[in-house]
Subunit: 151 residues, 2 copies
DNA sequence: CCTGCATTCATGATACATCATAGTCTTTGT
DNA sequence: ACAAAGACTATGATGTATCATGAATGCAGG
């Protein structure tokens, strides 16, 4: 019956982390959500991704990314101009305000991670990641076949 | 940095699990969400909890529980009658349809957990749970103090 | 050039998360 | 008994998740 507890613990841990992370950003007076921050950060690092590309990197779906981008533009953290090469797309550019926000949030996120992992050794975090990735792989596999898709 | 990857893996794992779990329930033709199922199950086991009690057990907040209960009532899986002892509350009762749904979902959930944890030893799941609980504790602690010092 | 198909994005519908608050009822202190 | 405090629930506002679909554009082959 420990299994019962495992996914509960998983859920609890990630949710508490998000809660703590968001609270620390709010406390710093920065007006952005962690999801928006994540997307903005990815766009800064590569301003020529499609929404689908972005969604894969941040592990969200395209619809969520579209709405997050919409909010980022609304808030003036992101600017768009029509793509010169592809009429379906818009080129995304992080604005000055967006850059300032990213700069402000960066140290907070690092400190959050540190707090969350306090007392865990490198070996432990490594193993944790391994186990989580295995669970992910198990869940991503089509049930009924041990499909050896490339990792 | 591996830290970067850890919370990403955490997020990925739990989301993929939820996705897989919901898909398997849908595939079985049962019309319920896993969150609704979770709440319904808790109510079955104890029909005299407040929404706050329930929210603590399923690790959601009270507002979410209130809305989930509303949907469960709407769908006829849950019935309410005014509490005889407390005018603010309603006594919750799982209906026949609710019971049938619970019965239908139970084996699916067990199978899902098994699939998700395939290839993990008991020791590994135990350690995983321990590490997750530590992260939770770290995040639940007030920032700025490593010990339990009052704020 | 045009057609069939894939890609890219937007949006509606539904559900959950979080915060805040209001309304109702209960308990407590005096 | 009464007022203050607290508990319980409902709901508005905002944001995200997921699925489905539609509209616009790009592209390859005929």
């Amino acid at each position: 019956m420990l299994n019962d507890i495992l996914f509960y613990s998983l859920d609890k841990a990630i949710r508490q982390y998000r809660k703590m992370a968001q609270a620390s950003i709010d406390r710093a007076g920065v007006d952005i959500t962690i999801d928006q921050w994540l997307v903005l950060r990815v766009i800064l690092e590569n301003d020529d991704l499609t929404q689908t590309d972005i969604s894969e990197r941040v592990f969200k779906d395209q619809a969520s990314v579209a709405r997050i981008i919409g909010l980022l533009v609304l808030r003036g953290l992101l600017a768009t101009e029509p793509s010169p090469t592809d009429g379906r797309r818009a080129r995304l550019r992080v604005t000055e305000a967006g850059q300032r926000t990213l700069d402000a949030v960066q140290p907070i996120v690092l400190s959050n991670r540190q707090q969350a992992l306090a007392g865990l050794s490198e070996a432990e975090t490594t193993q944790l990641r391994l186990l989580l990735d295995r669970i992910y792989a198990n869940c991503a596999a089509k049930s009924g076949s041990q499909d050896g898709a490339p990792s």
